[in-house]
Symmetry: C2
Subunit: 338 residues, 2 copies
Amino acid sequence: MTAVMPEGVAIARDLVGPAIEAAIARLTPDVRVVAAYHLGLADADGNPTRSGSGKALRPALALLSARAAGSPPERGVTAAVAVELVHNFSLLHDDIMDGDTERRHRPTAWTVFGVGGAILAGDALLALAQELLLESEMPHSAWAARCLSTAVQRLIGGQGSDLAFEKRDDVTLSECLDMAGDKTAALMACACSIGAMHLGAPPALAMGLAGFGNHVGLAFQLTDDLLGIWGAPEVTGKPVRADLRARKKSLPVVAALSSGTAEGDQLRAMLNDPEPLSENDLIRAAELVTMAGGRKWAEDEADAQLAAANASLADVDIPVDVHAELTAIAEFITARQW
Amino acid sequence: MTAVMPEGVAIARDLVGPAIEAAIARLTPDVRVVAAYHLGLADADGNPTRSGSGKALRPALALLSARAAGSPPERGVTAAVAVELVHNFSLLHDDIMDGDTERRHRPTAWTVFGVGGAILAGDALLALAQELLLESEMPHSAWAARCLSTAVQRLIGGQGSDLAFEKRDDVTLSECLDMAGDKTAALMACACSIGAMHLGAPPALAMGLAGFGNHVGLAFQLTDDLLGIWGAPEVTGKPVRADLRARKKSLPVVAALSSGTAEGDQLRAMLNDPEPLSENDLIRAAELVTMAGGRKWAEDEADAQLAAANASLADVDIPVDVHAELTAIAEFITARQW
């Protein structure tokens, strides 16, 4: 199945891209070069490029959030930039912590500029996100900044759990879902609601949008975890079965491990074995996840979260076209490309 | 010469300490244990201790800042906590970047919990600082949060310059002073003004206090750099001539290198030599800094900055006891213990 990117995502990139560049230009040169490289705005020497910027999903959601409150998308740009900067702050730092050497088909920032440069650039993006919100001439900028701070704390907590899980082999599915909620869904919920909050929308609207974002975030993480095992390299940009190779305790894997089945136990033995996993081992591990019910559970749960996301929008009063675009983005980012 | 810690610093510790503990308690367990260890509130296993907390200079300045605006010190506690959290965010991250293995006579957090844990704990403290300000029921919390954000950006820029300077041997004294202004003075200026800003003090008062803090911060950095060469280990907690051993481009060293003297050139040759420096080399290097005028320049500049700090307070209308305590702290942290 091929997923077609909704038009709103490309529009968001056009509207938010220049604002991100303007924000980055405020950083001191040593920090700016790292941030610009990471964001795909420049190569390692600082020469402008358009190589590897992200998909701008969160900015698209933030602009829709402003439109949900009855404003033109332009009024959501600051919130969209703030969310995208926070997302990239977390990518910069996570890549160091996880030892990841490639992102968006390019070497990660820490491999190019060193750990120190990447830590600093992440710090700068986080501080900049708050600065932009606080200095914006919007009626509820402090409120939007608090919404973002809360998401940042959950994001950090989720990454902390993720790091801790690596050292444990008794992680429960419920812990794993909580972690995904913190690490992925919290910022999605923020993206979907911050534009409206920034404009002083009624709490019921902001909460409906946040609920939508939270469920979409979980559906997105489940989809990402399924892609990490069964996604084709040309879709994921990573080698096939990359998450199994890294013995990552992703949601389908933890569902399989906690299934109480013989296949789940075989999978546990395989992942606990310190020997490197061969290609055949990886194929077998993926089969075991399926046979232990981990794949079906994750697919069903993704469907359920997507349904819950759409249900969250049922009672909120937003323009019909905004509703349709939110739904289109949710479907796009949870499309089954395996 | 022995410097006696002003009473206000101990009082600040008593008032702000519990508020910092309450703030840290909000973090998720995996992140909290690292933050508590770093702050000297717990050992590596999370058991409460009182071993190695900092001197609470910035909190003391923030409480005085609230008192300068005519309020009781209790009204400055949130601002004091926010500044201290930001200071510790930067220490957690700087220790990783600089590869420092010891702080406050204990192993640094990253050596105990890994780089990932220390990055996350730093991130959490930065986000928490902003959260506390934004959720405080003060008339100007968004304004205080902006003041802090600006200081954070300068701090990050200063650390970026510091990292970049390590790879250069043509750093000018003016660049070096700018770096110290960003890395040290900006947060001191924020500490001295944020309490008053948070309470809605007039801009002239806030600016006078910020000017005081900025000059004190520079005087403090100059003093710290002098201690890094000539301070006794029992005063600095570091080996004698530690900064020379690390070939750090501190202010007295850069002043010597850019003096145009023969001794400055000898020093440059010594510091550029890739061979390890012997104890005799280090003694000789310290002599060369003195002979090239670097020591005298730094001492004179520290005096000038201290005088400028006091001059900044001359025209602002603050209670006499607050004025005296600010001056006492400035003298305490720039005392010549060599």
